[in-house]
Subunit: 367 residues, 4 copies
């Protein structure tokens, strides 16, 4: 079977590099179109990233030979689309919010579906914010989105912020089992790769931590409410709960965001810690049932050791797509507390975007 | 005026080294007696620490020439006491809890007051756990302690765990102003020096964090209740509040523990964030009023920048004895939240012990 | 084809853990016997390493179920050998030098070939120190070794220190091309995993480097002379050149030793830097020609970027078995200078040992 | 005695911040004039550095209140000079080389002496590159410099690159004792503060080293030859020796450059390692004899421990102005080898600049 040709917007940046390496051997998708800022446009991809490549893994040879296009040139992408070189695009754009919003809409309007990592459209009322295991049905707003905007084939679907990835699935599993959370206090310890490159200066990360990441706490508190929300009249209506209070910190770790959570249940409480672990172990959802290529076999992995999860040892679990949890215990103030980890540039960025594309393909939204 | 001769038990360990450098130029106390494990006993101090010295600052020359005594040999210390070489001891013993408890009692019984950093006696009902700004009146249990045990001059006073130092003074300041806390959820990010040397392996602290420190969460939750408690019938009675839930983590930082807190007030709430900052800025207590040598001029320093406090920049504030706070803001779940930092080996260990000794001297308990 | 059953001595230590994960899917060898200190003996492997596992990758399920044997119990190993559970052993023993030497001889004497990572036998006159690309013919001392010691099937072969792995192959390639080195001054920047676990304390590796590793400089200077030497009368005779002067440093890196070299050629000098790069690029030896499973396709990889090799980006090149070189340029004092890197726990330890076993199997020394 | 008013060009950058804190309590000089880029000009200094302050120490209150001037506005500085607010300037400019060169000349031409940290004028033939202990007599080119350029009171004097500070004084001490070096191979491991802020990205410094620093090797090889050179006909003539080959690396350390050196003497060799240590211990020069305020009492400190010098423990020795050496031993290839360290932002930057100013004041060049 032929692989579907895909494009990467922002292909030379760090998230773009992650997309490209993760798609090296993808069974469904093949990178055939790369676009970046005008500075890189016109160069071969291998030239454009020479000396700027950040990852230990490298790109497939055929990607190195692709000509980098100007990401602002939507007509060039539309032409590629017509020639069958680009069936949809992953957006890893790193420009301002307003420009990103407009440019992603221009692609969609030109008939090109946009699966985005950018935050620009997360609060657009008819754009789904997808975590494939949690709210696959949110994709079903796409027909309404297309219709309202007069788009024939293009649409926009996004993924949420990387900081919430480690705790959304555990919360969802508990809610599904009848134990929704009412209130949560969470502290994150986030890896530097989340800030891109050059990103965080080393003087801030040697013998130091920084107790602040601009905008991150707001995203950590609000995005879950849209993901746990529902569709009403062609627009998303947020859930009211859980109330979340987030403290977001930058720590000297390359990859892997860790979160400590204290959680109060809304009503009924699980009978024991063992019941909760059993709920997490049993959590399998559409991506697992449909055996999507990027889906982790075990979306939630629980480690019994006292001192886990740890970024260096646990971030790569199950293709770096699993959430790894440890230290579940009663909370002195709320009901339970635990520590959760997910790989921020894979599960929390490019890997999550690819899984969303697989989901959309599976559901028929990517022809 | 002659300086009071003091001894250090556990003088070659990391806390012992901190005591010795902090006392290099102390106006009241002079190190004249150093004791450690039998392995070091009989050597000059400079020989005993050669190749094991952990600090950037070094010891005073006269300390280098002291002969290291066996810390288990209480009679040797008693002889030194009689000769006027050692008026009281700082205990930085690193042996087992039961042995520490017994040995500290043996010193007290031999007439030598013990100002301890060890955790062994923190839950002994008639031993005060002192933070000089918060509960100086707890020292007044000493006469009852001596009497009950038949000690003439010796006694034991201890300091609490380093993990709670960053938030106890801010909580106390608020309580004094009429705003006691009811419930607190705290996540700590603790420096490796807290584990001594060799302590935490580097493989655990390069590109990693460890979400667990044995025993630390229990100490962080319970010790505040004794410190906020009162004396009844010659024994301490714990406070009931605040309820604290702690998540303690080890992070790749040399010195300086950081804590993020979400806090619910018991009843009345401050009118604004500005009111709280004013309360903290005005917080001056006995150590400041008495101008004790080791006391910080400003026990609580508030930084307005978004990205502070940071360990490397803030841990040394006011002789490394101040608490530095930042990011005060309303909490989405409780009432307020903020980030606090204190230097764990100075304020949280040797410096706190010296301040306690100054307090006890000031109050007349060290003749 | 059935895989050959192999044993690991020191299976619970860090090098042992590396052996076990690297052999998870090995086409020729299968771990069927694990031995460690008496403390671990009698437990299942998964129990013995619980809470002590250091790697991101885990062990194969069947290894987790193996019973850990006492590594000192050679008769137990001999019985396993007879039952076909253990055809030879990899030695990753972490005991004293004399004990290791005696114990490895006891295994060989009991008929069990020993492929060792330990340094104990590196200077035994009839034991080969193998780097599979450089001196495969040194394996041919094995018949003489067996005969002299009266061993029928057992023998001992070892690998050299991890610190020299990054520069031995580049030197060998140049020597093979007619440009042997006369004098070398090398500075290494070595990763902490080389010291095992717990190994280097984090207080030595946060905001710090340590300019000393006990015994490392002597090994770095002398072992190359044996590897470049020849067999005379059943014993190794060292080469006289190159003279090496080594400065060995520990740096805050998890895996990957880096070395900077300045090199003076013995006589003839290459015509240009390009000639040298061509020599390195063309370097293929027995492991590549025989397509041994663990052999890197490209034993020497040259990176043209100014700022490479870097541990995090280059250590995993070609299964972490390649040497990665960069910054080749004329030396102001000698002839040339460059920077070289190799993965110390794979190429420099377990991976190198496995490649040696493949070589010995290929040459018929492992039945 | 009144302190001399001084200005800082580039006052808000990292070297500028270091100047300002080091001058907080200086007995001779007082910061009265601060200049920076147009972006900062017109703000109070405390506003200009809010959120950008990199150091643990803070600035003196009176500096916080100074208005920041535009560094390009030389006439403003000249006016301040006339009003007695600025007797000379320290240049910590961070602009391009050509602009820096021209701007520093404009200040000198306006009558304002410039003591510079910038590299722009290091190869100007009549500008001295001073290390106060080594070549104080190079300052005596100043009259010729003024005359040739028609400057009445202004002049330019600079300091060399931070990478050579750790080994220049040890080399000079040996040369003075009759043992000049002929050839040197040096590898540096340099701290990130040398690159300023934001400087080196944290993704390059977590679990990594970078074996390259642009331009640093050339400076490390050539600048010593000017410093060891002499004045001929109003211009500097470089020394021919030592030939130096440098390998410069960036390592995850905040402050403190470490260098490993192998050294060949030109002719006569010291009789023993002890003789060399005695030479280093006895090394006292003009700054020590004149007791200049910033001069270290012991310019060269030798540590006998195997594992020193280390950045975290040794960089602050003697006000961070001393060189700390360890591991002196015979070299297998040249004559001797050793490891040396100096604090790059103090001795290697602002502290070295201040010491140069003290030297120039002492010699009468700063009225």
């Amino acid at each position: 079977m032929d692989r579907i040709p895909v494009g990467i917007l922002g292909a030379t940046g760090m998230v773009g590099q992650n997309y490209i390496t993760l798609l090296n051997d993808h069974p469904w998708f093949e990178v055939r179109y790369v676009a970046a800022s005008p500075r890189s446009a016109g160069k071969k991809y291998e030239e454009a990233v020479a000396g700027r490549w950040q990852l230990a893994k490298t790109y497939a040879p055929h990607v190195g030979s692709l000509m980098v296009e100007d990401a602002n040139d939507v007509s060039r992408a539309a032409a590629a689309f017509k020639k069958g070189e680009c069936s949809f695009v992953f957006s890893a754009l790193e420009m301002g919010k307003d420009e990103t919003r407009a440019l992603e809409e221009a692609y969609a309007s030109a008939g090109i579906p946009v699966i985005s990592n950018a935050s620009a459209h997360r609060w657009t009322s008819d754009v789904p914010v997808l975590i494939a295991e949690i709210n696959p049905e949110h994709a079903d707003i796409i027909p309404a989105q297309k219709k309202a905007r007069g788009w024939d084939r293009g649409f926009i679907a996004v993924k949420p912020n990387c900081s919430i990835q480690s705790y959304m699935k555990p919360l969802h599993a508990l809610a599904q089992a009848g134990y929704p959370a009412q209130r949560i206090i969470v502290t994150t310890m986030q890896a530097v790769s989340g800030a891109g490159y050059p990103g965080v200066p080393s003087l801030d990360m040697l013998d130091n931590i920084v107790p602040y990441i601009g905008g991150e706490e707001e995203k950590s508190e609000k995005e879950p409410l849209k993901i746990f929300g529902c569709i009403e009249n062609g627009a998303f209506k947020n859930a009211e709960f859980p109330k979340i209070s987030a403290h977001c910190n930058r720590v000297p770790v390359t990859d892997g965001h860790v979160a400590t959570l204290s959680l109060e249940f809304a009503a009924k409480k699980p009978g024991s810690m063992e019941e909760i672990k059993a709920i997490w172990a049993a959590y399998k959802r559409l991506p697992q049932e449909a055996d999507l290529p990027m889906a982790p076999k075990h979306p939630i992995i629980y480690r019994e050791e006292d001192n886990r999860p740890q970024p260096r040892k646990d971030r790569d679990a199950d293709k770096a797509m699993a959430v790894v949890i440890g230290r579940l215990r009663p909370c002195n103030v709320f009901d339970i507390r635990f520590t959760a980890l997910s790989h921020n540039t894979v599960r929390g960025a490019a890997g999550g975007g690819i899984l969303n594309a697989e989901l959309l393909k599976y559901k028929g939204y990517l022809a």
